[in-house]
Symmetry: C2
Subunit: 366 residues, 2 copies
């Protein structure tokens, strides 16, 4: 006899990327920022640690909300801080989609959305992308009618494809919300500053999620926030745990937002390195998709992606081997490598070993 809900027994659980706890790796597998956070963040953490950790944190993270609101030109009531963007994605699923109803997302993309739906006992509809990583408009129009939540990473993973506001309006559920997961939003050419949220075409049914794990170099502190009309935020707040953000991460995230120059400098470095890596990989025969994120998606004409991943790993370089069982437009298996943009030195190390890695991978595969 299982004491679990049948939905939990049925599901496998989401498998996050490898997180080796020892040092010495070139870690390009989970889209972390290779640069450290702002020194102001470290100061803020120190000050908070020496303060009153025995007392509960501000359950509304008021100071953070004010700072984030100013950056996105909204009122603080539009901001919901969370224990990582993942927590907001969980809160959204629990707020808007009942058992038996369905969520949707473009595919291939971030498969965590499926795990969240499974926990909630909801259905999942994949909006298949074509070889240009675009969706079929007629199919999108059909899905809009029934889905309760449409999750869209923008830019998308694994390719870094950025969709326009015009395109995104095609996905707004008629009786639900559109969620733009902007984990990589700061790496695109022109990050929005709230204009999207005021766009009347989204009818206040748009939720934007943001994270500190990527552009702000703070994957270790678990902090993200949602931006949406207060009519949505007020309901989502009922679903969150009272003290979902701790005193230290609130202080750290606030300090990080206040040092935009630090983030911007790292962003520029990453964008420059991304261009250099893309050019070099193309020169080695990889097919490189243009990316607006802090990673690139590449395939190799040999198709030996898993072997390349394994050969790199033997050399203490971790990239993400990804396999989407029916990821191609014709329903066939799609696989490839997603490589996070590291420092220039890290990327140089990858480029230096790749000729040998490809030769070895080809030998292994045959």
């Amino acid at each position: 006899m299982s004491v679990f809900r049948p939905a939990i027994d049925r599901m496998a659980g989401y498998a996050p990327g490898e997180q080796p706890q020892d040092t010495g790796w070139v870690k390009l597998n989970t889209n972390e920022n290779p640069y450290p956070p702002s020194p102001r963040v470290i100061d803020a953490i120190r000050r908070t640690a020496e303060g009153r950790l025995n007392i509960y944190p501000d359950p509304h993270a008021t100071a953070f909300r004010r700072t984030a609101a100013a950056l996105f030109n909204v009122d603080p009531e539009w901001i919901l801080p969370a224990n990582g963007s993942d927590e907001n994605l969980t809160i959204i699923t629990r707020s808007f989609c009942d058992a038996g109803q369905s969520i949707g997302y473009p595919y291939p993309s971030y498969v965590l959305y499926e795990s969240l739906a499974q926990i909630q006992d909801c259905g999942v509809v994949r909006l298949r992308l074509n070889s240009q990583w675009q969706w079929d408009k007629a199919k999108a129009a059909e899905l809009r009618r029934s889905l309760r939540v449409f999750y869209v990473p923008n830019p998308n993973s694994p390719t870094g494809t950025l969709w326009s506001a015009d395109q995104l309006t095609e996905l707004l559920p008629e009786k639900g919300v559109l969620v733009l997961d902007e984990a990589y939003g700061d790496f695109c050419s022109k990050p929005h500053r709230g204009e999207l949220l005021k766009d009347a075409r989204f009818e206040n049914r748009l939720v934007v999620t943001r994270t500190f794990s990527k552009s702000y170099s703070l994957a270790g502190i678990r902090f993200g926030f949602a931006i949406a009309h207060p009519s949505l935020i007020d309901g989502m707040r009922k679903v969150k745990d009272s003290y979902n953000c701790d005193a230290i991460s609130i202080a750290a995230a606030t300090a990080a937002l206040e040092d935009q120059a630090w983030m911007e400098a790292n962003r520029q470095k990453i964008i420059a390195t991304r261009g250099r890596l893309a050019t070099a990989l193309a020169g080695m025969g990889f097919c490189v998709h243009p990316s607006e994120a802090n990673f690139i998606w590449v395939t190799h004409p040999t198709g030996h992606h898993r072997e390349i991943y394994e050969q790199l790993k033997e050399r203490r370089i971790l990239v993400r081997y990804m396999r989407f069982p029916d990821g191609n437009p014709d329903g066939s298996m799609l696989d490839g490598l997603r490589i996070t943009i590291g420092t220039d030195a890290e990327i140089d190390r990858v480029l230096a070993v790749l000729p040998d890695v490809i030769a070895q991978a080809t030998a292994d595969a045959t």
Copy 2:
């Protein structure tokens, strides 16, 4: 048109205790520890902040689980760390209770369980306590048959009542789990060290939840953990977010566990102050219930509890005024004051103003 699930629209949301963000309060309303955490905790936070915050934390919090497992004489597979004990209570509800099924808990007690059930669209059954804060055995035997989760804070809030293992076996659901919420477990006379979890009468369907917010003086970092048989922990892990605990809180909680002497010294001080406060309040005419937690529940023959709370608040002393609409055995309203055990100096301040507060409260009420 609401885009929310009906269950979310219907509910009010849990209201946590007041958390004034300014200083200068004697804060005895949310059962925080008045003493600071171990200096080793502050060191661990500093070291982690100067480390690699740009990298994701260990999703399994391996170092913490090893330390906690040793303390409770179990294997690390028995431990599930969480972003505060609240997160584990959320995970438990989502793991074991489907919409339409029900959870139960003794009443009066911690009403958060009701909010968690409402989010999940589950029913709630209150097992009413008598004037000795004990339940009716026949009623418990009846509830065991249908409930999927039985939540039991042990010691209970608001009174600090501790139930024995023999009594707790009466609450084990036949097709579900018994959850002992041991937020205050370290303040009872003889905290268990895992014996309960090995007690065959609970048939591996017991989940114990623990927090760092009380005995370890770390409400600000949000960290808790569940202890249960791996067959339960494995399923609960599917429900948690991948990186639910941040690098800093993992390091802080591990360091706190490693300094048992620090926790034990504060525990002893709090237990001594609790005795002194109880005696003094009884001398002032309050009815004081014996407590095994870091708070005491008092009622006053005048019944002017809300006025006493307000008069104390005017003097910058916060205690918890609690009101249970049908909290008495006969179904009538029960109210009273729950006072957290502060430092001796804080308690002296309360005792010094109380005669005047009671006089004023009585005048206000008439």
